[in-house]
């Protein structure tokens, strides 16, 4: 079953070309890796990073909890006070008699250990209440930090790596990806 017509090509030319090509890349190196964390990428505006929810828009319908594939979203009970603030359920328990009743509602909280950033919750939300960011390299020091409380979840996370040069990748004909400093 061995095809004898496959003769091996002349070796000298193949060797010379391989050596020449490797030597060409040795004298003009084309580096494609980033020196993280001295430099880090600033990702595009469409990037699916860590996110939060807009408290005023959310209506507590729980559609995000139903659609989340890894079941990372939990709805926690909250109370909307007459002035429009959202309070934890215990705080709102004290009401003056006769005052306008506060509304019981729910709000989503994401367990970052389970989230896969598929953004199905963004798309199923009937009032488009989620807010995105392009922070992607957050790290937590203990297991409990993966499950924030609702008030912590409301804060959009900031870039964890300070003092790093931000670069934007741009495709380049010669180098593949060229990293230019971010404005």
């Amino acid at each position: 079953m061995v095809d004898e017509s496959r003769k091996l090509r002349g070796n000298v030319e193949g060797n010379a070309r391989a050596l020449a090509k490797a030597f060409k890349y040795l004298v003009e190196p084309n580096r494609m890796t980033l020196d993280y964390p001295a430099e880090s990428m600033k990702l595009g505006p469409n990037y699916r990073g860590f996110f939060t929810v807009d408290d005023k828009k959310c209506i507590g319908c729980s559609m995000c909890e139903m659609i989340c594939p890894p079941e990372a979203i939990t709805m926690v009970p909250r109370i909307v006070s007459p002035t429009g603030e959202t309070l934890p359920a215990e705080q709102g328990a004290k009401q003056e008699p006769g005052a306008k009743a506060a509304k019981k509602t729910k709000r989503p909280v994401v367990n970052w250990g389970r989230c896969i950033f598929c953004y199905f919750c963004f798309e199923i939300c009937p009032v488009d209440a989620f807010i995105r960011s392009n922070v992607h390299d957050l790290a937590f020091y203990n297991d409990a930090d993966y499950r924030p409380s609702y008030e912590e979840f409301l804060k959009l996370p900031e870039e964890p790596v300070k003092n790093s040069k931000k670069v934007i990748p741009k495709p380049d004909m010669k180098r593949g990806i060229k990293y230019e400093p971010a404005p």
């Binding site: 391989a18 050596l19 490797a22 030597f23 890349y25 040795l26 190196p29 084309n30 580096r31 494609m32 890796t33 020196d35």
Partner: protein, 340 residues
């Protein structure tokens, strides 16, 4: 008593030669530099940084030192079924015998007192062939099928490539008409470097050097994807470090021999001089620089080639390389009879 002082001076100079320059310490420093250089060269070709993080200001140059320190502090584990004496002694003996040819390689017109010899080429090339025995013992002593297969491969390959090595050296000896390094360098200074006199012998010697030190494309005994780490699968700690460093020492020895036989030795400098500085240091630096360039070229091949299969390498050793070395001998005979 009058003869005792020069004797002591000679002895100290000899020990300086054997241990410091170009003996043990220069060999170890070059090994450390070369391991880092190999990784950096491969990284430059492969679009990445290479070792960078250990000492950032100097571009990661202390990476090998950090690796060596890490190996020194690891725990040494010997498997239960291994042959304890051979398992522990063989890497050390391998390293010692890899260093041993340095005794007989003069890097300058320096006369050694401890090991005076007029047959330095013969002794140095012959001592190279002792080291593979210990590699085979290493592979057998670990109770691991992958090491065993690795040592079998090494045994086959060593046998196949010994004849070409000796034939290529002999073809240069025919031209130089001597078994000593100093007259060989003298001949090259007077006429032409060995690589122009007999380029085929130079190519054969380089191929044998690549095979013997395990550089790509002959990386067969440490084939990553087939045998887990080849011979040194079961080793940890400093023994693993010795196993990884020995091929580089071997590479240093081969490059020194190559520079002396083929590249003209300490050629711009006069072939005969006395004293420590003019007789040992300056020619030594020239020879070491030439051999460093040769080592860098051989180490650069990591970025170019994959590895051959063992039967292809054995077949090449018995067929093509022997033909090339016989052609080299014939060319040398013709040159010696006709030209010089």
């Amino acid at each position: 008593m009058m003869g005792l002082l020069p004797l002591i001076i000679w002895l100290i100079q000899d020990l300086l030669y054997l241990i410091v320059f170009p003996g043990l310490i220069v060999a170890l420093i070059l090994v450390i530099v070369l391991i880092y250089l190999e990784r950096k060269i491969a990284a430059k070709v492969q679009m990445r940084f290479g070792p960078l993080y250990v000492s950032r200001k100097i571009g990661g140059a202390l990476q090998s030192v950090a690796d060596l320190l890490r190996f020194s502090f690891q725990e040494f584990i010997a498997p239960n079924g291994s042959d304890s004496l051979a398992f522990i002694m063989a890497p050390g003996l391998m390293f010692a015998f890899a260093l041993m040819p340095l005794i007989f390689i003069p890097v300058g017109p320096y006369y050694s007192y401890l090991f005076p010899s007029a047959l330095t080429i013969l002794f140095s090339v012959a001592l190279i062939t002792v080291r593979p025995i210990y590699e085979i013992i290493v592979g057998w002593a670990s109770d691991n099928k992958f090491s065993f297969i690795g040592s079998l491969r090494e045994a086959f390959l060593v046998i196949s490539y010994e004849i070409p090595m000796f034939l290529s050296v002999i073809s240069m000896l025919i031209i130089y008409r001597t078994l000593n390094y100093m007259p060989a360098v003298a001949f090259q200074e007077a006429h032409l470097p060995g690589i122009i006199l007999n380029p085929i012998a130079a190519i054969v010697f380089l191929i044998v050097a690549i095979r013997s030190t395990g550089r790509f494309p002959f990386d067969i005994t440490e084939a990553d994807s087939e045998l887990v780490m080849g011979l040194f699968t079961e080793y940890t700690a400093l023994f693993f470090g010795i196993g990884m460093a020995t091929p580089y020492v071997e590479l240093y020895v081969f490059s020194l021999i190559f520079s002396l036989l083929f590249l003209g030795g300490w050629s711009p400098l006069p072939y005969h001089a006395t004293g420590l500085i003019a007789g040992l240091f300056l020619p030594g630096i020239v020879v070491i620089i030439k051999s460093f360039i040769v080592m860098t070229v051989l180490v650069f091949l990591r970025a170019v080639y994959p590895r051959y299969r063992v039967d292809q390498a054995i077949r090449a050793g018995w067929e093509r390389i022997i033909y090339l070395s016989i052609i080299a001998v014939i060319i040398s005979i013709l040159e010696a009879m006709v030209i010089w």
